[in-house]
């Protein structure tokens, strides 16, 4: 039986990927960003998850304005890094886990989630930067990945509550997969940042840290109730990405144990947040 063994939350700032690709991680600006992932890299080297369900958003890479899926699950065999305007990132292709992905997709649809199934797409920094942060720069990614792309670009994105419920449904789906697999769920994006308009550059440490507290706590109710307008006002226009963390949190169940926490202002325009959580049954 497949098991969800841990949840990871992390920012997915493109500049973090560029810093790694261009070997700048030891520079004073970048060093404290990456220092917070040292523990996590050691941890995940021991954990060796077979599959990561990687919740992220596409940043106008795989999906243009022709088609905007709210929840899209990648059921393909492999995904190439997208060319976001400066050529694809020099990282390995991402290997899918089509058996588990299709199982989850089918289960979610029966569970009344209106999933869009994707068989071919390129994956952008939203997916590859978390991989680089957690796994470093291997020749080949050590885990298979099920991409779960959430629309947080065109309004409205799904509610925080809906994201949480999707996480719960993913947990039920994983549990009913017969093969013995160590599965992690990652929620990516955030934390506070605004990439547009005169208010660009907004950072809200207090709010972000309250959110990290709530994520590490056993009471999800307060998280589920955060409205889109609150994310927008308090965390900048791109802080809305944090709804994706709730999919991961919902998948872990009621009680969690925080294993690791990292918060750093900032990378590029963004407050970097990172959590490793364990479900407590």
């Amino acid at each position: 039986m497949a098991r969800i063994t841990a949840g990871v939350a992390t920012s997915h700032v493109p500049a973090i990927g560029a810093a790694m690709d261009l070997v700048k991680t030891a520079e004073p600006y970048w060093q404290p960003v990456f220092a917070g992932y040292d523990w996590s890299r050691r941890w995940i080297a021991q954990e060796k998850p077979d599959v990561v369900i990687l919740v992220y958003n596409d940043h106008a890479s795989a999906f243009d304005m022709k088609i905007i899926p709210t929840f899209a699950i990648g059921c393909g065999e492999r995904y190439k890094p997208a060319d976001e305007g400066w050529g694809p990132r020099p990282v390995p292709d991402v290997e899918g886990h089509a058996d588990l992905a299709w199982h989850i997709a089918q289960s979610l649809i029966l569970d009344e989630f209106d999933m869009t199934i994707i068989n071919e797409m390129d994956v952008d920094h939203g997916l590859t930067v978390p991989m680089s942060l957690m796994f470093g720069q291997p020749e080949q990614w050590p885990s298979k990945v099920i991409p779960l792309a959430v629309n947080v670009v065109t309004y409205p994105p799904p509610s925080g509550n809906r994201c949480w419920l999707l996480g719960e449904a993913i947990a039920r789906a994983v549990e009913s997969f017969p093969e013995d697999l160590n599965v992690q769920v990652w929620g990516t994006g955030g934390m506070s940042h605004q990439l547009q308009g005169p208010r660009a550059g907004l950072i809200n440490k207090e709010w972000d840290n309250r959110f990290l507290n709530l994520m590490s706590d056993d009471d999800g109710e307060a998280l589920r109730a955060i409205s889109h307008i609150e994310y927008l006002r308090e965390t900048g226009s791109e802080g809305i990405e944090m709804v994706m963390w709730l999919i991961m949190r919902g998948a872990l169940g009621k009680k969690v144990r925080p294993l690791h926490r990292h918060y750093h202002v900032l990378a590029s325009n963004t407050a970097v947040g990172h959590l490793v959580l364990e479900p407590v049954s």
């Binding site: 304005m65 305007g85 400066w86 990439l195 950072i203 440490k205 006002r233 226009s237 590029s268 325009n269």
Partner: protein, 134 residues
């Protein structure tokens, strides 16, 4: 759930210096964003760099939208329905980072914006709500 969509959308106009990418903007900026997206292909980037005007004229955009792009006036692009993740293909093609491009929208000099960000970013104090002045 019964959120009133009209109230939901109306609140977005109460955030200072921010354009939320709603249906209205998505419709207005449709071709500007699709144009920007086309720059994900290396061959299109070459054609764009060789003759920006000729390339942009292939797209059914308003003259104002074209000019905003040619001027790299990203606030104007947002006003005309652009979305920052689509527009990112334009400034990435120019070799600009998000940090550099985003700063141009704040009315600050690149140095001042960078300095503000290194000092911890812009405080939310006073820019949460126009109506409530908080």
């Amino acid at each position: 759930m019964s959120i009133d969509i009209h109230e939901y959308l109306a609140e977005f106009d109460d955030i200072p210096g921010t354009r939320v990418y709603t249906a209205k903007r998505a419709r207005q900026g449709y071709w500007m964003n699709q144009f920007a997206m086309s720059l994900m292909k290396a061959e299109n980037r070459e054609r764009w760099k060789a003759d920006e005007r000729a390339y942009i004229d292939e797209w059914p955009m308003s003259e104002a939208q074209k000019q905003a792009i040619l001027d790299r006036d990203y606030n104007r692009c947002l006003d005309l329905g652009g979305n920052i993740y689509f527009l990112a293909k334009v400034f990435s093609t120019d070799g600009l980072s998000f940090l550099q491009a985003v700063g141009t929208m704040t009315g600050m000099t690149p140095e001042d914006y960078q300095a503000m960000m290194i000092a911890g970013g812009r405080s939310p104090q006073g820019v949460r709500s126009i109506r409530e002045k908080r």
